[in-house]
């Protein structure tokens, strides 16, 4: 797919999703999913044997792969943020899909810890152990409640952006981002703590 052929699709779809258009959402996902995965794989391949062993450095992924993608699409500001939030979401769903194929997606199986830690001199706050599905659901709820905070978590936790990058993207200071992130963390923690069968 050539960039020019893709361009209208992605920016339009992003606009549609921000309007809450469900169809755009679906389409956007479908468009980005293979592309992001491909980019991620390429990066992984390029990172050589070390990459596989040490675990993918998602930060590096962002810098080289998706930044280029975002630039190619001419994404700025709000849509750029949305895009990266999607990257995070897609990568997470890649993991979930994989777990699914290995039949490890059952609730209660292979728990994953979500550690929302702060800088080294601040005590880490550990959430309850929750599986990826649970995490996914919590994030979904979060998105419905507060999209801005949700995007923060996606970008920083799963798409590997740095605070500084998010600050630039949103046109805010790193201080503001820090504070937002603290709030986001607190909210996520709440949502993770809610019983799985909660009615929302």
């Amino acid at each position: 797919m050539t960039p020019s052929a893709q361009q209208p699709a992605i920016t339009e779809l992003l606009a549609g999703t921000s309007r809450g258009d469900a169809a755009s959402l679906q389409q956007l996902y479908a468009v980005l999913y293979p592309e992001i995965k491909r980019v991620a794989r390429v990066r992984l391949a390029q990172s050589g044997p070390n990459g596989r062993v040490a675990g993918l450095d998602t930060t590096a992924l962002v810098h080289e792969g998706f930044l280029r993608m975002a630039d190619q699409q001419g994404l700025q500001g709000e849509t750029r943020g949305q895009f990266f939030a999607y990257v995070g979401r897609v990568l997470r769903s890649v993991v979930i899909d994989h777990l699914r194929t290995e039949h490890r997606d059952k609730r209660g199986g292979d728990a994953i810890l979500v550690t929302l830690s702060a800088a080294s001199d601040v005590a880490a706050v550990q959430s309850q152990a929750v599986d990826m599905i649970g995490l996914d659901q919590a994030l979904e709820r979060m998105r419905a409640l507060d999209n801005g905070l949700y995007e923060l978590i996606e970008m920083i936790g799963f798409a590997g952006l740095s605070i500084a990058e998010v600050a630039t993207l949103r046109g805010l200071s790193t201080r503001s981002i820090n504070r937002e992130l603290l709030k986001a963390r607190a909210l996520l923690q709440e949502l993770l703590g809610d019983p799985p069968n909660s009615v929302y």
Partner: protein, 928 residues
């Protein structure tokens, strides 16, 4: 059950959080104590507890998800579709997503798939080849063959869209054709014999197309022919058997090894069964079997339901029953035979009509010896059409007309105004051009035409031509005169002969002769068969083809509009209509009717997308037509951008696309040259010329045009001597068989260059010659004619012969004679400029100002005007102001603004200095 955090709660919570976060822990606690409701307070309390004691604004908050990274790596390393796990609905292959399993065969599974990326609604059939069957070299072979099969774009062939290998599994992506197989369709609709033959003809045409691309099907059978909801046939599995074959030979047992499924022996040719060389004759055989079966309901050899061995034996040694005699009408429904193939098409109610000719056609296709069958599918098709229409049919181009044209073209080049080798004609031609078989076929199908042309060619006897050996043109000319009387009683043949001759002359670039013939043909076919008949439409397209070759947009419009309407009425193939629409877009643009061009563009693009995916070459190539539109709209940068965007598509073109790639390069060069881009060098242009000549032969139209473009650019930059050199190269490369009228535009441009380069000897006489010769005619009309005339006017002005210039200009000012010209803003502005310069040269400098202003105003009105001519026009105006004694400061300042930054030096710079200096400026007319 607890209820989770609700949106309304969150709003409140969020606001409180922000406020309380600012406060000290002690104060916070106080607030929390009094907050209502208690659940909210509890949440808030927990949330606030997560905040660090000391909010250090410079610390960086981390979100860490341990294990995520390693899991991500693991997930990305897994193949999506492994060779060992069975495919599931939803699995992704490239940009496709498997939807439902359609069937399972020896080769693997066939799935219906949908586009995974949502870019457009699309379905495909994906053949997943079984992992264990894939031989090591399969992927490599796929890649080679994919390019080949991807070229098979024909409405009757299910295209192969993609092929590849993913995670150890080879797959083919094919066009998905919902519908029924041929036998099913025929049976369900209870089709009669004529309908069945028409269907088979469609199939045969698709096969013919593929053969022309050197692709053999090798597994033709009713099961491989789908009939869609519109009743159109599509051939499946084309060349798949060829793909999987290791060697050029195909033996049944080899195929078994590779595919796990043998050929259906019932439709296989004898040589396929015995493992000898397989070629087009084998496909013809299979078509014969299908014909026999459609006509009788039975297989020609053996019966459905026999064992494989028995069937093979029957094919190799059996004799076919006469169709009309076979009375096994009961064995036509129900049972599925051993190979899993469906039951046949059933016997048609009017099977007895197959007696005689149709039987003979099938018999000829079914000969055991391949050499005795039809040599080409085209011949097979001809005979079927003959049978269908019960009268002589015009012979198919590929077989006969094409050969005549080719031969004539080859020998016209030899002739080059001299004598033709008539030993070759009378002796060689009869033999080499028309092999006995073709001669017989031609004779059977079109006796009158054959007789006529045989006589024509054998009339090359010098005694009949006043003692000298006539050349082809003379022969044709002589017989052309006879046509009306010769065929007075046989208008149908007359029409066919006109068609042949029209195409022949067109191929020889003798448009002066081809056009009247084509006009006669159109009139005749209209009279005989009406406006919408196939023959009339063919005639119109021939005529239109001539218009396009001559760059005659007026003709294209005049003929193209009714033709398009006719095609739409008849629901012709979309691809045919598209072709015409492209031509109309360009024609409207060139005729200055930009609104119509834009309208046509907007209408056509969605149609393009119906036929081609947005990212395909064909869809992207559409931008070349839009390019012409943008130029006409004065959007030069947009035009450049279109061509730049297309560059990746033409970066490594496949062989059948090189011609288009060259076109794109030419257009891009043109746009960039006008914009003064550094890439548009003389060398680049010469390279394009060289590449065109390498591909299309010396002196071809494309390289002519490129040279002309280069010369024009050089002229605009004032490098007239260099332009002269290019014109000389151009003149040498032209074939002298080209009609003189076609050379006139080139002569005019060359003349202007020479005069401005200072080579004025004989120029005045040339101006007069050209003025006389450049009367508008069918061969030379429209913008081409205007431009040529304009060059003569300018040359006359440069020679300081206003008398000659006036004479040359006169036809351009005849509004009644050229009504279209009134609407052409760009050309009107040029004419205005020439009028202005002429007036100035005649001494009326004041009177020249207004027309020159018009030219400037024209550029001002364009969104992205061409920089150089614009600047030149401004200087032209400034010169007149100066000579009329008017103030020039403003005009000069404007000219300086307009002078392109990228322009190095230009002769007009000197003009600018002269305009400013006190002494009278020199004569610059004709150089703007």
């Amino acid at each position: 059950m607890n209820s989770g955090l609700q949106a309304s709660d969150w709003q409140q919570l969020s606001a409180l959080f922000d406020e309380l976060a600012e406060l000290s822990a002690a104060v916070r606690a106080q607030w929390l104590a009094v907050l209502q409701p208690p659940e909210l307070a509890a949440r808030l309390s927990r949330m606030l507890a997560s905040l660090p004691e000391e909010v250090d604004d410079d610390a960086t908050v981390l979100v860490d998800v341990p294990g995520y990274n390693t899991r991500l790596v693991a997930a990305l390393s897994e193949p999506t579709l492994s060779a060992t796990t069975p495919p599931q609905p939803g699995d992704r292959l490239g940009s496709w997503c498997l939807a439902e399993l359609l069937g399972e065969g020896g080769m693997g599974q066939v799935w219906r798939a949908e586009r995974a990326d949502g870019l457009y609604q699309g379905e495909a059939a994906i053949k997943l080849l079984r992992g264990d069957r894939a031989s090591p070299g399969l992927a490599a072979r796929f890649a080679r063959e994919r390019a080949l099969l991807g070229r098979l774009t024909h409405p009757g062939i299910a295209r192969m869209l993609d092929a590849g290998e993913q995670d150890g599994r080879a797959y083919l992506v094919l066009e998905y054709v919902p519908g029924r197989t041929l036998s099913e369709h025929v049976r369900t609709h209870e089709l009669g014999l004529v309908e069945r033959v028409k269907l088979l003809l469609e199939v045969a045409r698709a096969v013919e197309h593929a053969h022309a691309q050197l692709i053999v099907h090798r597994d033709l059978k009713p099961g491989n022919v789908m009939v869609d909801e519109q009743g159109k046939t599509k051939l499946l599995d084309f060349g798949i058997a060829g793909l999987l074959d290791d060697s050029g030979h195909q033996a049944d047992h080899q195929l078994t090894q590779i595919t796990g499924r043998r050929l259906t022996p019932a439709y296989a040719a004898p040589e396929q069964i015995t493992g000898e060389a397989v070629g087009v004759a084998s496909d013809i055989y299979s078509l014969g079997v299908m014909l026999y079966e459609l006509a009788s309901g039975e297989l020609p050899f053996g019966k459905r339901g026999l064992s494989r061995t028995a069937l093979e034996h029957a094919v190799l040694h059996g004799q076919a029953q006469r169709i009309t005699r076979s009375s096994r009408g009961t064995r036509t429904t129900g049972s599925v035979d051993e190979g899993g193939n469906e039951a046949g098409p059933g016997r048609p109610p009017d099977a007895e009509r197959a007696a005689g000719d149709l039987e003979a056609v099938a018999a000829k296709a079914l000969r055991k010896n391949p050499a005795e069958r039809y040599a080409t599918v085209g011949a097979f098709i001809d005979d079927l059409e003959h049978w269908l229409t019960q009268r002589p049919v015009s012979v198919r181009a590929e077989d006969w007309r094409h050969r005549v044209r080719l031969w004539l073209r080859r020998n016209a080049a030899l002739a080059a105004g001299a004598t033709l080798v008539f030993a070759a004609l009378s002796a060689g031609l009869a033999v080499s051009l028309w092999q006995r078989r073709e001669a017989q076929a031609a004779a059977r199908q079109s006796e009158a035409v054959t007789r006529f042309l045989t006589e024509l060619l054998s009339s090359a006897n010098p005694d009949k031509h006043g003692g000298h050996i006539p050349n082809v043109l003379e022969l044709l000319n002589k017989s052309r005169a006879e046509l009306p009387t010769r065929f007075a009683d046989d208008p149908v043949t007359h029409a066919r002969v006109l068609e042949v001759m029209g195409e022949t002359y067109a191929d020889m670039n003798r448009f002066d002769i081809a056009i009247p013939l084509a006009d006669q043909l159109v009139a005749l076919t209209r009279q005989l068969w009406g406006d919408d008949a196939p023959a009339t439409l063919r005639a119109l397209r021939l005529r239109l083809r001539l218009d396009t070759s001559l760059s005659s947009p007026l003709g294209v419009i005049a003929r193209g509009e009714p033709l398009l309407a006719a095609l739409e009425r008849r629901h012709a193939e979309l691809s045919d209509r598209l072709e015409l629409r492209y031509q109309l877009i360009v024609a409207y643009a060139q005729a200055g009717r930009v609104d119509d061009a834009e309208r046509m563009r907007a209408e056509t693009w969605p149609l393009v997308l119906q036929l081609f995916p947005a990212t395909s070459f064909d869809a992207q190539y559409f931008n070349t037509y839009v390019y012409h539109l943008r130029l006409a709209q004065g959007r030069l940068e947009d035009a450049e951008k279109l061509m730049l965007d297309l560059r990746p598509a033409i970066a490594n073109p496949p062989a059948n696309r090189i011609r288009f790639a060259l076109q794109l390069r030419r257009h891009l060069w043109n746009a960039q040259a006008r914009l003064g881009r550094p890439e548009a060098t003389v060398e680049a242009a010469q390279q394009i010329v060289a590449d065109c000549e390498a591909l299309l032969g010396p002196g071809n139209l494309s390289s002519q045009r490129m040279r002309a473009d280069l010369a024009r650019q050089l002229g605009e930059r004032g490098q007239w001597s260099a332009a002269v050199a290019v014109h000389e190269a151009l003149a040498t490369s032209l074939s002298s068989a080209d009609h003189p009228t076609l050379r006139l535009p080139l002569d005019a441009a060359a003349l202007l260059a020479r005069v401005n380069a200072g080579q004025t000897q004989g120029a005045a006489a040339e101006v007069q010659r050209l003025t006389e010769a450049l009367r508008p005619s069918p061969v030379l009309t429209g913008p081409t004619w205007v431009e040529a005339t304009g060059n003569v006017v300018r040359a006359a002005l440069a020679l300081q012969r206003p008398d000659l210039a006036g004479m040359a200009l006169a036809p351009l000012q005849d509004n009644e004679a050229q009504p279209w010209l009134q609407r052409h803003a760009a050309l009107q502005s040029l004419i205005s400029q020439w009028q202005g310069e002429l007036a100035r040269q005649r001494g009326a400098a004041m009177a020249s100002i207004e027309p020159l202003r018009k030219r400037v105003a024209f550029f001002d009105g364009l969104p992205q005007p061409e920089p150089l001519p614009r600047w030149a026009a401004q200087l032209d105006l400034a010169l007149s102001l100066r000579l009329a004694g008017q103030p020039v400061d403003q005009a000069l300042a404007r000219a300086d603004e307009l002078r392109p930054k990228w322009l190095e030096s230009h002769p007009l710079d000197r003009l600018r200095r002269e305009v400013e200096s006190p002494s009278k400026p020199g004569v610059w007319d004709g150089q703007f």
